[in-house]
């Protein structure tokens, strides 16, 4: 039996290699959608398409979920996307929510802050959760959908070695323990990670700024110590060399510590347990702990020029990479899937032209640029690149210790928030005078309580016309696209009124299947809604 080595150790071997009938066919079998990569972004893509009854095959060169906590901060929007896929709740149940943060400079604490989360949302601003859990809950969901008969397949130890892009499909050479076979796809989603082999095979550019820095990550389990559930961030810590240190809690009493240790380091030397312990001991003092996992990584801020190349889409780290400050990696990858899923679904069902797929790249490149900008700014603050930027950075930290006004300038990574697709092609009219800016056209919806339920649980997966204190037909057929009404009242619902009405007396919102606002008006008008649906699906 032919075999190939794993590139990394698995935490959960949950989709072991099994020979598929496709492998014995003389002719390559054609599938509507093939996803390359079984990480969080690939699996999320399978959930999105599978739930739409679109057959999807995921190929992964491993047989399960990789070891190591890796991405540990999952933000609200990402959890809301997971909720739409039916796996958000176990993530929050398992995850750790924190609100208190402390900021240190050199030896002392300079201030602390409480995030004071806004009430009236199903999901918290973010949770800390080890990536293997996040992935596990999605694969569990995938298995549940398969049991319901949804057309999803995941094939372990199926490594893509070559790709040929035709006008109306792609052909993949896949290697397995039983040898190679060919598979065809009408559409391909490349979610094969930061080093995306598919990106290289297609000769695509990946440009940006490489930051010359490395991080030593250590996950530790405290013994007999009650450590508070807080986030601690040190600028220029005195407990060891390096520009910054971050400590935060994960489930299972595991603590994550990120040491920023500079570029010119001897990785092998730094990874020795005694050397990691030396750093940890200097920081934690006299505390007993066991080491769970450690790793060193470097990062880049880069993106591809376009995320669509004909029949191939790139998503997640394969399409864009950011620094870890602000947790914009996995979180933005989930938003890619959120954006691509319904568009691909509508094109495959013949409800929208292929041009709709160009808007995936347009919108998500816009999102990636915003994420890269934010993450670059954090990086510049944490590791000043010039003498004058260090002078200003230190001035901010000195002032922040005593004066509240300087604290908003302290940037140890901004909370990952989804971008608003301002001014992009799918946006319809924003014709609701006095309405809040946060729910403007192009924005992701803001959650609100509706009785015992949540607004976001009632919207998504299709076009919805949300009316607040306004009349409209219960459903509309816009040239084959069904738009269903969700009638709401602002009576006794101050959150809904504040988030969607503002100064307006009534509102009609057209919501996209990915819970973004496509258009809004004060009153219903058939022609206006029809036109907005056509704009939002690239039919106008």
């Amino acid at each position: 039996m032919l075999d190939f080595d794993d590139r990394y150790t698995l935490a959960h071997k949950i989709y072991p290699y099994e020979k598929h009938a496709d492998q014995d066919k003389a002719e390559a079998v054609r599938h509507p959608v093939v996803v390359v990569g079984g990480g969080p972004i690939g699996v999320a893509t399978a959930l999105d398409l599978g739930m739409q009854d679109i057959p999807v095959v995921v190929l992964d060169d491993h047989e399960g979920i990789g070891m190591g906590s890796r991405a540990i901060c999952f933000a609200k929007r990402c959890l809301e996307v997971a909720d739409r896929y039916g796996c958000g709740e176990p993530m929050v149940d398992k995850g750790v929510v924190w609100n208190l943060g402390k900021v240190f400079h050199k030896e002392g604490q300079i201030y602390e802050f409480n995030l004071l989360p806004e009430e009236g949302h199903k999901y918290p601003a973010f949770i800390n959760l080890q990536q293997p859990y996040f992935e596990r809950f999605m694969v569990d969901r995938l298995r549940a959908l398969q049991a319901e008969g949804k057309p999803i397949e995941i094939r372990g130890k199926n490594r893509v070695d070559a790709i040929e892009v035709k006008d109306d499909h792609v052909v993949l050479d896949v290697m397995t323990p039983d040898g190679p076979y060919k598979i065809e796809a009408d559409w391909l989603v490349a979610a094969d990670g930061a080093n995306s082999p598919l990106r290289d095979m297609l000769g695509q550019d990946f440009t940006g700024k490489v930051f010359q820095d490395s991080f030593l990550i250590a996950d530790i389990k405290m013994k007999d110590v009650e450590f508070p559930t807080e986030r601690w961030f040190w600028f220029e810590p005195t407990h060891g060399s390096g520009a910054s240190t971050l400590l935060h809690k994960q489930p299972d009493d595991v603590w994550r510590i990120d040491f920023q240790i500079g570029w010119d380091v001897d990785r092998k030397e730094e990874m020795k347990e005694e050397n990691i312990r030396r750093r940890l001991d200097a920081m934690l003092g006299d505390v007993e702990y066991e080491m769970v996992w450690s790793s060193i990584y470097t990062f880049q801020c880069k993106r591809m020029g376009s995320f669509r190349h004909g029949r191939v889409f790139f998503a997640g780290d394969a399409a864009h990479q950011v620094s870890p400050f602000g947790a914009r990696g996995a979180n933005s990858g989930m938003q890619d899937v959120d954006n691509l899923g319904w568009k691909l679904g509508m094109v495959l069902k013949g409800q929208a032209p292929e041009a709709l797929l160009d808007s995936y790249s347009e919108e998500r490149v816009y999102g990636a640029d915003e994420n890269i900008l934010n993450s670059t700014r954090s990086t510049d603050f944490i590791t000043p690149k010039s003498e004058v930027s260090k002078t200003f950075r230190d001035a901010v930290l000195t002032l922040a210790a005593k004066h509240e006004f300087a604290r908003p300038l302290v940037n140890s990574g901004r909370l990952s928030v989804p971008c608003v697709y301002d001014g992009l092609s799918l946006n319809g009219p924003d014709s609701l005078p006095g309405a809040p800016a946060r729910t403007r056209v192009g924005a992701p919806m803001v959650d609100a309580p509706i009785g015992d339920d949540w607004l976001l649980s009632m919207i998504g997966n299709r076009f919805i016309l949300m009316t607040i204190d306004a009349d409209a037909p219960e459903s509309l057929d816009v040239d084959g696209i069904e738009v269903t009404r969700l009638a709401l009242s602002s009576k006794d619902n101050p959150e809904l009124a504040e988030r969607y009405l503002g100064e307006a007396k009534s509102a009609v919102y057209l919501m996209r299947p990915d819970q973004h606002v496509a258009a809004r008006w004060a009153h219903f008008d058939t022609a206006s809604v029809n036109r907005a649906v056509n704009i939002a699906t690239a039919r106008a």
Partner: protein
Amino acid sequence: MSDLNTKPNITAPDDFYATLLAVHEGKTKEESDAINARLVLILANQVGDADILNQAIALAAEG
């Protein structure tokens, strides 16, 4: 858009200038740079308005 005030606005300009220089007396270059940086941030917060701050930064860059 608010406009940056480029007309004289400082009460007792000579006193202000003397106070500004006095704070740097006996300081090293590094200490002085730190004071100036803090002063910029304190004054920027006082101004607040992004339009004014952008015009001020552009004007300073002109030299």
